[in-house]
Each structure stands twice: as C-alpha cells, then as structure tokens.
C-alpha cells in the first residue's frame, strides 16, 4: 500500500523521525515493512506491507500514529481538520433533507451522512489532486476525490450519492431481496441475495454496502447536491458478498478487516469541507448519525507478570507499558501490578491481554528483548515410524543409482491413470477420484492415486531433453484411498515409486547387448530396498496384468502371508510410446505403510569352515515351470548336506526345444562335521537328477563338478 511522506508529515514530524530512512526503520520496528521507497518530486512514496489485522494503518493518519509511537514523537493536534464544518454550513439542516433507517442493526452498527448542497463542477483542489496522485490514485471529480482523499487520510471508506437521485431523500439499510438487481459503479449488473446488505432509497437498492455504490445514484458532472456516507459494516457480510460477486475494492478491503467505528463523524466533516473547498456550495448543518446495535469499547487487563513471562524480559515495567499503550491510542489505569486498558475503536485486532503484550513489545522493540535457549532435554525422536522407513528407502534408492524427484500430484484419472486401472483396483483405490473444487488447471483436477504415471513423465522428460538414460524415484502421498471425510488422513497412502529407462549397465567394458535393463533389475531393486525389513526369501512374486506394464514381465510382490507390498515390471509398449521412452524401461511402486515397520532381527548362526563341494546340474524344462516350482522340487528331494541352491544359468536357443528353457542349477554341499567326498556329493546330485528326470517335461542333460 502506498503512502506519501508529505502526507504522513501532516500528522507527525517525519523530519524528527529521521526522514524517509528513519520512518522506514520505525515502520519495520512496528511491523509494517517498507517494500520500497521512491522519490516523487519533493515527496517520497513508501510502499508499505500492511498485515490483514491492521485496517487502522490503511490510511495516513493510522500509519503516522505508528511512526509517532515508535519514535516517541507527539501526533500533531489536528482536531480542527476533523471538526464540524461550522462556518461553511448554512441553509436547511441535513435532517430535513435526508433520513436514515437501519433495518439490519447488527450488520450496520453506524451509518453517518452529511449533505453538501449547491456544488459547482470545479475539480478537486490542486493540493488534494497532488496528494492523491502521489499515492497513485486517479482524480475523478471533486466529490469522488474528497471521499478518496478521506479514505487515504483516515482509512474510513466513504461514498458520495447524488442526493437528488435518491428517491424520497431516504436512505434505508436493509438486506437485498432474492434476485434484486443493482448496476454498480463499474457498470456491471449484480444479482443479489438476501445475505447481501444494500443501501436503498425509497424504491430500490442504490449501493452495495461497504463494497461499491450504484451507477444510477452516482455523482456526475451535473450533480448539485451530494449525500456523503460513512458507515460501519459487518466484516463477514461484506466479505461474503464481495467474494461471491468476485469484487474487491478499497472499501471492501477495509470493511472486511474491521473499520473504525469512531472515525465516522470526523471523516464526514473532513470530506464535506474538502468538497466545499473544491466545488463550492455549502455543507448543510448537522451530521446524520444513525446507530445500529451498540458497539462497545472493549477493555482488557495487562498483568506485569504476563508481560514479563511472554517477553522473557524481567526489566519491563508497567510504567513503560502504560507509556507505550498511550502512544498507540490506548487509555489505561493502574491497579497494583496490573493495568486496566481501554482499547480504541480503531484497533479491532486487539482483544486480549497477549495482544497488549505485543503492543508494548512493538514499542519496546523485539530486538531489545533478551535471547536465551530453552533448557536442554533428551534428543528428539521420529514420532512416525513410517518416516524412518521412508528415509531408508530414499537412501537405498539413491545408493542404487536413482535420483529422488518430486512430482505435482495433480492428474486426470481418466487420461493419466487409465493404464493403471488394475493396479488401482488391487490397491483398494476408490472408484471416485479425490477432486479439487478450484483446480489450477481444469484438465488436472484429480489427486493422483499412484505415483507411476507422473514418474514416467519425468523419466520421459529427461530422455526428451537428451539424456541417454535416467533413473528416478519419488516418495510421496497418493490420495486414492476410500477415505472417511471426518478423518482426512484416511484418504492418503504413502508410496515409493521408481522408474528407469536406458542403459543401466553402460560402461566401456560392457558389450552393448548387455547394457539394457530388464525385469530383473526392477525386481532386484525392490528386493534390495525391502531387505532391511524382509529378506528376499520372505517375498512372493506373482505375475500380474496391468496395462501400464508388459504382460508377462510384471509382477506384484507380497509377503508370505499374502499382504500386497508393491508392483514391479517392464513398462508396456503403449505407455512407452505415449512418452517416447526407449525399449528398456521399467518401473515399480511400493506401498510403504504395508512394510513391517520393525526392522529384521539378525541373529548369529554357526557356519562350517570345512570345504564345500559344488556341482552344476542342467536340464531342459517347459518354460511355464516356474523357478519357485523348481526350488520346491529340489527342496523336496532333501539332499544331504545341501548348503545352497542358485539358478546358475538360463538358456534358450540352439539345442533347446521351442517352449523349453535350459536351466542350470548350482548346488553347494557342505557338512559342519567332516570334509565331504566327491562320491557322496555325486550320489546326492544323481538322486536329484533322477527325481527331476522323473517329472514330465524335464530332461536332465548332465551334471558336473562346478
């Protein structure tokens, strides 16, 4: 908000306050940071940030009060400026020319008016126009400029009606009727509702209370008689109406934040004097001052103990507190170790004791308060075990070569998540996506139910920008759960997802054909990431058909008890083509909350230091015989002293029949009691070869000492 240093100087000696720089520092101390200062002729314009709790500082008088209070300077005595314009007023008194009726006393606590008659068409005085120009306000006409000037002077918004256009000279403050129409000053026809408050004449609404006047009764070049309005409007009502109608004016901005109930007469007096000075005519004697429900002056108490407790400063005194409050316009009276304080009308934000503490400390200066550290305690901890899981996943993925990324969660369920329907279904996603009422982008108004599509987009962006490969992951929330509205947290699911494209094993020493990623990179990553909680042997992998993944090269992973943990696989051709991803692309997602939060317990098991005997066994098998089934067959053979079993090789190609694959097992035998002989190991391998060979479809091709 713009303020003129010259204008402020009318209220306080800004030179004594240190000029523009001094004022800037004082306003900082007061909590009104100056964003910029700009020279404008002999004047300086300050752009000041005013927090929404301080409507009283949205005018030069109020801001000057802050400068004076911080500097300890007196406010100039300007009583005359806001006093009744006695000398200029003559003729019929205002109460004969207009009358005011307040039908909504709680929403309009006070409605004041002054009448100025017989004005000419001269513009505002040069001084007024200069002041307005300094802060960037346009000059329109004497009457409008007078109201604007007073707004920027006192902070009190005013409105000027052409009195002759007010039917019956009547001003009625009432609720709008349903569907009532009013064309406002900006030429827009507004359709009103009973929740809106209007100023009406005998026939129709003529102004939208506290927001904008009506066009039909506005002051024009031909206007001779003016009714100036200054009122106190209910902040919530003004705000609701302004928001519903998409309006925001200097007036509504202030009324929404709470206007100064006490400023009304002075503002009207000043405005009528300025209008007469500019355009001639005379103010009709008398101020019309209608009251709604009483607006009581608030009082509260400030205890010395509370002041010292909150500030942490035992040297603060009630003498200082009284002085500080008095500079800011509060009145107080001492009662032992406390003071009773009357809060001025213009400080709608101050209600309780702690507010007064802030007022005192602002004058004292926050930077003068002492500094200390709260007493030490034991170190903190993570309240949420899942956070620890998340951090470990993050570290694990980064160590495995993936970069952490953050995607916006805004998607369109139908277009972005269509390919993941089956995945959404098995993760119990609600059919109806969680949608944003007021989205930034109407084409992405849903909240994501899986991290995968966004992550694949990021992957593709890297490729599109020229990267040969990329490996990314994200830890974040998805919002597809069947939530209960009264438990907002129930909509969320914590997820980890990864995606990779291009050559994972690229190195000058690796032949080109071996560089691409495949399903087992994806699976291996999941196994590795879950290993702090679940060994690979505790995971069950099941083929799954999700459109986003290649059928037959994607799988879900579960615990042995059948609890779904995640998904991993090769990205489908369609999803790749949609994003121009290269052939070797894989992705996966882990449901973090389903990982047991207790880490695995590791216990020592004795191991044999005797030598091992290793043997390889090869056989051709149908492709649809799974490794899981082969492992089971081996286990069932109960080979003596078998220490470990590995899948050593898988081969398809010449020498292997169509539909079959040649598998080579590597068996390691070891005893904890004695060195095994080759013969006894051979005996066991032969037993296994016979057992396997007896299965239909399996042809053992040989075995050898490895």
């Amino acid at each position: 908000m713009k303020f003129s240093l010259d204008w402020l100087s009318e209220f306080v000696d800004t030179a004594a306050a240190g000029g523009a720089e001094g004022v800037r520092a004082l306003l900082d101390q007061a909590g009104f940071p100056v964003e910029s200062t700009q020279l404008a002729g002999s004047d300086t314009v300050l752009d000041v940030e005013i927090t929404p709790n301080r409507p009283d500082a949205m005018g030069h008088r109020g801001l000057a009060r802050e400068v004076a209070a911080m500097a300890g300077l007196p406010m100039r005595d300007l009583e005359a400026r806001y006093a009744e314009p006695d000398e200029a007023s003559r003729g019929e008194s205002a109460e004969h020319l207009a009358s005011i009726v307040i039908r909504v006393p709680r929403l309009c606590r006070r409605f004041g008016a002054r009448v100025v008659r017989d004005i000419g068409s001269a513009p505002a005085t040069a001084g007024m126009r200069r002041s307005l120009a300094a802060i960037g306000a346009k000059s329109i006409s004497a009457a409008v400029d007078a109201t604007n000037y007073v707004l920027w002077d006192t902070g009190q918004p005013l409105h000027a009606f052409d009195l002759d256009k007010l039917a019956g000279g009547l001003v009625i403050v009432r609720r709008a009727t349903h569907g009532e129409r009013l064309v406002t000053l900006d030429g827009v026809e507004r359709i009103l509702e009973p929740s809106d408050v209007v100023v009406a004449d005998a026939e129709r609404a003529v102004s939208l209370a506290g927001i904008m006047g009506g066009l039909a009764t506005a002051v024009t070049a031909g206007t001779r008689n003016v009714l100036l309005e200054a009122a106190w409007w209910d902040p919530v009502t003004v705000r609701k109406t302004a928001r519903r109608l998409g309006m925001h004016t200097d007036a509504s901005h202030r009324f929404e934040r709470g206007a100064d109930y006490g400023a009304i007469p002075g503002a009207l007096n000043l405005a009528s004097r300025l209008l007469v000075e500019s355009a001639g005519g005379a103010a009709a004697p008398g101020l019309l001052d209608a009251h709604g429900s009483a607006f009581r002056l608030r009082r509260t108490v400030l205890r010395l103990a509370r002041l010292r407790l909150l500030s942490g400063d035992p040297s603060l005194t009630l003498d200082f507190a009284e002085e500080a409050l008095s500079r800011l316009g509060f009145t107080s009276e001492r009662r032992g170790k406390r003071i009773g304080v009357r809060i001025p009308y213009f400080r709608a934000d101050v209600r309780r004791e702690d507010d007064l503490v802030e007022e005192v400390l602002r004058v004292y200066g926050y930077n003068r308060l002492p500094t200390r550290l709260p007493a030490a305690t034991a170190p903190g901890e993570f309240r949420e075990p899942l956070r620890i899981v998340e951090d470990r996943l993050t570290d694990g993925a980064a160590a495995a070569g993936f970069f952490e990324t953050i995607q916006y969660p805004f998607v369109d369920r139908d277009s972005d998540e269509a390919a993941w329907g089956e995945w959404l279904r098995i993760t119990d996603t609600a059919l109806e996506p969680l949608a944003i009422l007021n989205p930034l982008d109407g084409t992405r108004r849903h909240l994501r139910a899986t991290l995968l599509p966004g992550l694949l987009d990021t992957l593709a962006r890297n490729i599109r920008r020229g990267a040969e490969g990329a490996a990314v992951f994200e830890i974040g929330r998805t919002f597809g759960e069947q939530g209960e509205s009264d438990r907002p947290e129930s909509f969320e699911s914590r997820r980890f997802a990864f995606a990779l494209a291009g050559e994972v094993r690229a190195h000058w020493s690796v032949p080109e054909k071996l560089r691409g990623a495949d399903f087992f990179d994806a699976k291996g990553l999941v196994e590795r990431l879950l290993s702090p909680w679940l060994p690979a042997s505790a995971l069950r992998w099941k083929s799954v058909a999700v459109h986003g993944m290649t059928a037959g090269a994607s799988a879900t992973v579960e615990t042995r008890a059948g609890r779904l943990l995640g998904l991993a696989g090769t990205v489908s051709i369609a999803e790749r083509q949609k994003r121009d991803l290269p052939a070797a692309a894989f992705a996966g997602e882990i449901l973090i909350a389903r990982i047991p939060s207790e880490r695995r317990l590791f216990a020592y098991r004795e191991f044999s230091t005797l030598p091992a005997v290793t043997a390889d066994l090869s056989f051709a098998q149908p492709k649809d015989l799974t490794w899981d089934a082969v492992e089971t067959l081996v286990r069932d053979a109960r080979l003596a002293n078998l220490e470990s079993l590995e899948c050593h090789d898988r081969y398809e190609g010449s020498g292997v029949r169509e539909g079959e694959v040649k598998t080579t097992l590597r068996l390691r035998f070891r005893s904890s009691e004695r060195t095994l002989s080759q013969e006894e190991v051979n005996h066991e391998v032969r037993r296994l070869a016979e057992a396997l060979g007896s299965r239909p479809g399996i042809t053992v091709s040989g075995w050898e000492k490895a």
């Binding site: 909590g31 030490a376 953050i406």
Partner: protein, 350 residues
C-alpha cells in the same frame, strides 16, 4: 688351449650363456643339454669318472663337481631371471589404461529438498525436538479454525487454498501450511511438547520462478512452562547459525499470523553480502526467512492446554526457499522437473 674335457664343457656352456637366453624354451634346451639326466654334458662328464685311473679320479672329480656347481648356479640364476621376465611380460599383458573410467555404477542422489530437510531435522533433533508428521489432505478445522483463522477471516486470503470436492463436516482441503500438525500433536500429546513437522503443502499459486502450488515447510513448536520470546529468539538464532553458518544474525520484527501472539517475522543477515547490501537482499542486508511467534492462547485453549500454565512458541520456514538460498539456483521450477542434470549437482553421499 686345454684339452681338458671339463674345461671344454665349461667353455661351451659359458659361450652359450654369453650369447644370451631369451625364452623359456631356450632355457630348457640349455638346461637339458648340460644337466639332462641322460645326455646332459655334465652328467656325462661325471659318468666318465669311473673309467679313469684311481690316481686321476680325485682331481677330475673335484674339477667336474666344480663345473657342475657352476652350471647349476648359473642356470638357477637364469631360471629366476626368466621367471622375472615372464612375470613382467604377464603384467604388461594385463596392464590397463588406469585413466579410463572406473565401473562406478550409476550414481543416484537425494533431492536437494531432502538434503536440506534432513539438515534442519538434525539440528532440531539435537535440541530435543521430535519429528512429527501429518496428512496433506486436511480439514478446514485443523488447517484454519483451530489455528484461530475464523471462517470468512481475511487472513485466509493470504493462503489461497485448494479445496477438495468431497462433503465433510469440516470441509476438506490440501493443507496450506504445516501448522495443522501442531494442532494434531498438541491434541494427542498435550504439554510439554517439542516437535518439528516438515512436510509438503499446497496453495493455489500459478507456477513461476518463485511460486509453486506445491512447496515444503518445516514447522517447529515448543510448549512448556515459562517459555518466552527470549526462548524463541535464542532458538531461532541458534538454528540459523547452524544452518547458514556462524556469524548469521537474526532480526526480529512484529508481524501477524492468527495462531501466534505476539507474531514475529525473522530476517537473517544476508548470507551473500554479509549484511552490506546486494541484489539478493535488495540492498537491505537482510533476507526474510521465517515466521514465528508465541502460540496464541486461543490455540492452546482449543487443544485443552491452559495458557496460564503453559506458554510456547512456534516457527515455520520454507524448505524450498532455504534450498534456493543455500544452493543458489534461480528458479523454483527446477525442484519439480526431475531433470537429472539438476539433481546430480546435489548428489552427495546418500
């Protein structure tokens, strides 16, 4: 020239040796020719011993043995030499260009926001704060009302809210700050309490270099007996020094947040110019970095903590902003594009 057969064998051996033996094969031939059990010249010399008259045997035996020792010693030395030469040649064959790139595997890394968040967490964990978490989908109650933002309060204008299209007793929204976690934690644990709540927050902001509808905050809260502004100042100053380095000064000026009273705006001495004024701090020497204040008594009452018994302070700052200042990149959008060329710049140890 002597016709002594021993001399003759030795002479020819020395000549052959002098001609040089370059390969193992040559060595083996030489060794066979002189020491071979059947046809070796030295064993043959020795085998003539028994054909000699007894008087000559002693002298001949001595000289033949000496020759044998010489040949054996020379061949042993030669064997060592050949072995060394072979090893060197094997090493030569196995030599690599040590300046070629090593097999590093793909380097990954943490997002700069994670790095910054963890640094902040570490500082406060040491100060006894526990790390708390809350949902990103929130109720109007937790996000606003309980924090003393009444319905239709203009303070809500400062936080353009993304509202959710789902009927609920208290309207659902995407949290606009991490402050609702304060409410959840105070309701759950009461006082005294020290918590830090990092998290993702949302506002209806169009995307540009300094705005993003998704950003990150960290909120701190300490409630205990006798807590004052002095504690707030000390905590914030210590934190800023730990995060931005010794010599970082904090400045405290009043401001307004509905959930604190008094409210505080914290600026720190510009980390780029050390307070002398530069474009980064718009010449002021100060950079706004945090909001803070004493917890509003209405907020405490709302969570059944007696504000006469307990007082507390809260503070909040933007992680994205800290990252921006810390790493010196110009545009917030870089954080959300997932471009590896950006991300790998922060890929320190995980």
């Amino acid at each position: 020239m002597s016709n002594d057969p021993v001399e003759k064998v030795l002479r020819s051996f020395r000549e052959e040796l002098a001609r040089g033996v370059s390969s193992r094969a040559e060595f083996e031939r030489l060794k066979g020719a002189y020491l071979g059990r059947e046809k070796g010249l030295v064993p043959q010399l020795l085998s003539t011993l028994k054909t000699l008259p007894a008087s000559e045997r002693a002298a001949f035996g001595a000289s033949a043995n000496a020759a044998k020792n010489e040949v054996e010693a020379a061949l042993a030395e030669l064997a060592g030499e050949i072995q060394r030469r072979e090893a060197a040649s094997r090493d030569r064959a196995a030599a690599v260009d040590v300046t070629l790139p090593g097999r590093r595997g793909h380097a990954g890394g943490l997002h700069p926001l994670t790095v910054v968040r963890r640094r902040i967490e570490e500082i406060f964990l040491r100060m006894g704060y526990s790390i708390a978490d809350g949902p990103e989908v929130e109720s109007d109650f937790h996000n606003f009302e309980a924090l003393n933002f009444p319905p239709e309060h203009p303070a809500r204008d400062t936080q353009d809210t993304l509202l959710l299209d789902r009927p609920a007793r208290s309207p659902l929204l995407l949290r606009t700050h991490t402050s609702p976690v304060q409410i959840r934690e105070m309701r759950k644990h009461g006082a005294p309490l020290r918590i830090l709540c990092p998290g993702r927050v949302y506002r209806k902001d169009e995307v540009d270099a300094t705005h993003s509808p998704v950003f990150h905050q960290v909120e701190g809260l300490l409630v205990d007996r006798g807590i004052s502004m002095a504690d707030l100042k000390g905590t914030v100053s210590t934190f800023l020094e730990e995060l931005f380095g010794k010599g970082t000064h904090a400045r405290f000026i009043p401001t307004f947040f509905p959930f604190v009273e008094p409210g505080v705006d914290v600026a720190m001495s510009c980390i780029f110019c050390k307070g002398t004024g530069c474009p980064k701090c718009k010449g002021s020497g100060w950079i706004e970095i945090m909001g803070a204040g004493m917890v509003h008594p209405r907020v405490l009452q709302g969570v059944a903590i007696d504000p006469e018994e307990y007082t507390g302070f809260a503070f909040g700052l933007g992680i994205d902003r800290v990252a921006l200042l810390h790493y010196g990149f110009p545009d917030l959008r870089l954080l959300f594009e997932g471009d590896e060329r950006f991300l790998r710049q922060f890929a320190g140890p995980a």
